[in-house]
Symmetry: C2
Subunit: 146 residues, 2 copies
DNA sequence: ACATATCCGAGTAAAATTGTCAATTTTATA
DNA sequence: TATAAAATTGACAATTTTACTCGGATATGT
């Protein structure tokens, strides 16, 4: 079980926007360089993010992207839902309606537990939390080096 | 993020062995029929499970597979480690040693949180737990039907 | 005008997933 | 001992997913 690059790149890209929130728009090129991600690939991801209403675009020179909402109102789940689709540990959970074995399925509860615990984290973690974690990390690193 | 069939089939198959623990060996054919899984595909999975020491095989007629250890001593993590490999949410976690950005990586803590919560569940859930869940489900279903 | 950007759709190579199958070996039992 | 049941092994193959790449169109600040 592994996250695809879509989800991981997406969070990293959104993190960059969160860092610059309130300032000037950030271009795909900048993000690609800072996070070491393919520029063309990022285009696709941002296309999805924009259509989902998570980011706004400013076209033309000096343009780029900005967050549609403040970082504390965007969860990791929001991003994952757009780029990875919902977390489907097993179709025992999502297709429950038309499965004839649901009353005899031994493993459904297990998948449900896993699924819920992941979703809890994704729903409760916002971009602001990631920014805060990052700032704390920077503080600590700085302290150690001096 | 989705589990592959290897992990899901594997747990279902091991659940069947857990149900019959202490009794006669269960053949691949039986499991394939009861859980509606390809017989040939299961062959591969059991080959891995046996090499990992989770099951013992009895060859020849009336043979099949049995659990190597009692169901309460086999965790879902044991099964997943064999069939899916370890849960690697992101290589930020597993390749931490040789990543030069580790002190600047904004998202590492996030992947770590997700990864830990999944592993907590997988490590703390045993085959016996799944059997118990199944028995409880049967009780409830029976109650409703009467 | 021109350099920067986003926007959009298509294509593509490699990898992973999900099986299928044939041939061999082992063993209980009739 | 003959037979059938069952594991063991290794190879192969179809399909899907992933992770990009690219070409051109459109928009806009300077
Ligand atoms: S709910 Fe259908 S197999 Fe689990
Ligand atoms: S630890 Fe290397 S990019 Fe996250």
């Amino acid at each position: 079980m592994k996250l695809s690059t879509r989800g991981r790149y997406g969070v990293k890209a959104m993190f960059e926007l969160a860092l610059h929130h309130g300032g000037t728009p950030v271009s795909i090129k900048e993000i690609a360089e800072r996070q070491n991600i393919s520029e063309y690939y990022l285009e696709q991801l941002f296309s999805n993010l924009r259509k989902a209403g998570l980011v706004k675009s400013i076209r033309g020179a000096q343009g780029g992207y900005v967050l549609s909402r403040p970082p504390e109102e965007i969860t990791i789940a929001d991003i994952f839902n757009v780029l990875e689709g919902p977390i489907e540990v097993s179709d025992c959970i999502t297709q429950e309606m038309n499965c004839s074995r649901i009353n005899y399925c031994a493993t459904r509860l297990l998948w449900l537990k896993i699924s819920n615990s992941i979703n809890d984290i994704l729903n409760s973690t916002t971009l602001q939390d990631v920014v805060n974690d990052y700032n704390n990390l920077q503080e600590k690193t700085k302290g150690k080096e001096e």
